[in-house]
Amino acid sequence: MINGLVQLLIWQGLGELVSILLLPNIPGPVLGLLFLLAFLLVKGEVNQPLGMVADSFRQHLGLLFVPASVGVILFLPDLKTHALAVTAALLISVVLTIATTALVLKFFAKRAHDE
């Protein structure tokens, strides 16, 4: 477990370093993700400790954004005033996003099938 965590932290560190020095527009962890992905593609396999840690992170990803989300307490008055705008924006946007993505893929799948 520690082994997997160390691997992730090293890739994250590398990502942060490149983000600060070369690509300030892209968050360090995203660069870390890309480096790790490239490494995995070259290696051709996910070693077991890494796979284990990655799976537990995926399973409890939600826990990690609790601290930031509790900050909603600072924005409560603002959100209350604009409750309708926020609800409408989130609701309509999520329906459109899922529908559009699915329809675009369906279109391509159908075209590939017809050819």
């Binding site: 892209i26 993700l33 924006a89």
Partner: protein, 243 residues
């Protein structure tokens, strides 16, 4: 009387001053939420994150603890977001082998899907008169929370509101996705998975995995790829729109 109460008061002062209290609060409320979620057969309405945030917010409000104080302790959990983002490389890698011949349609679908997501959220929110803070945070809400918050910092909007909107989006998406797919008569698992990964992030993935393995793999990959594409493109687009 005084002698009996004093030690408790001292313990309280000690606890609320150390990071321990915020950590316990964060983890215990999440644990409670997760237990309820499992008990409810992983129904997306019983969202562990939403439960945890509600309870923790209520607690710090009730004891009058400033958010900054809470965050000083909870930041140890918050820090791991970056590490969790790096870990997303693993599901993307695992999905790569099934990607053959689908890379172009998937990338296009992700780009169009994200554009629709951002465009609709930002325009509806600003049309209905929401403030800059709220509208700004709608930009990054269409990707998984750890990446969304990284983007939020880059485009100078509130990471907090972004996180809250992202969690709400994930909940709504996970609840609504099956109905949308059935309505549109979309059957292939890989398409259903991809769409739910783009629309509902982490929660969508959990939902997808509980229905079908293939859908889950595609959902994980879609969420990861969408996050990477957005992290690269969003700051450029936003800077362009603002200039």
């Amino acid at each position: 009387m005084m002698n009996e109460r004093l030690p408790i008061a001292e313990i309280w002062v000690y606890l609320s001053g150390s990071p321990l209290f915020a950590l316990i609060l964060t983890l215990a409320t999440y644990q409670l939420g997760y237990t309820l979620y499992v008990k409810a057969n992983r129904n997306p309405i019983v969202n562990p994150v939403a439960i945890s945030v509600l309870l923790a917010t209520f607690c710090i409000y009730a004891i009058d603890m400033p958010y900054q104080k809470y965050f000083e302790g909870a930041q140890f959990v918050h820090f791991l977001l970056g590490t969790a983002t790096v870990a997303l490389a693993v599901p993307i890698y695992r999905g790569c082998s099934s990607l053959k011949g689908k890379l172009v349609p998937m990338t296009l679908a992700l780009l169009i899907g994200s554009a629709v997501s951002i465009g609709s959220a930002v325009s509806i929110a600003s049309m209905l008169g929401a403030g800059d803070n709220i509208v700004g945070s709608m930009y990054a809400k269409s990707v998984t929370a750890p990446i969304a918050m990284g983007i939020a910092e880059r485009i100078h909007v509130s990471p907090t509101l972004t996180a809250v909107f992202t969690v709400a989006t994930g909940m709504l998406g996970a609840i609504l996705a099956p109905f949308i797919m059935n309505f549109l008569r979309i059957k292939p698992w890989w398409i259903r998975g991809t769409a739910i990964g783009v629309g509902a992030h982490g929660l969508g993935i959990t939902r997808a995995f509980s229905v079908n393995e293939e859908a889950g793999t595609y959902a994980s990959m879609a969420m990861g790829l969408n996050g990477v594409l957005s992290a690269v493109l969003l700051p450029i687009v936003v800077n362009y729109l603002r200039s």
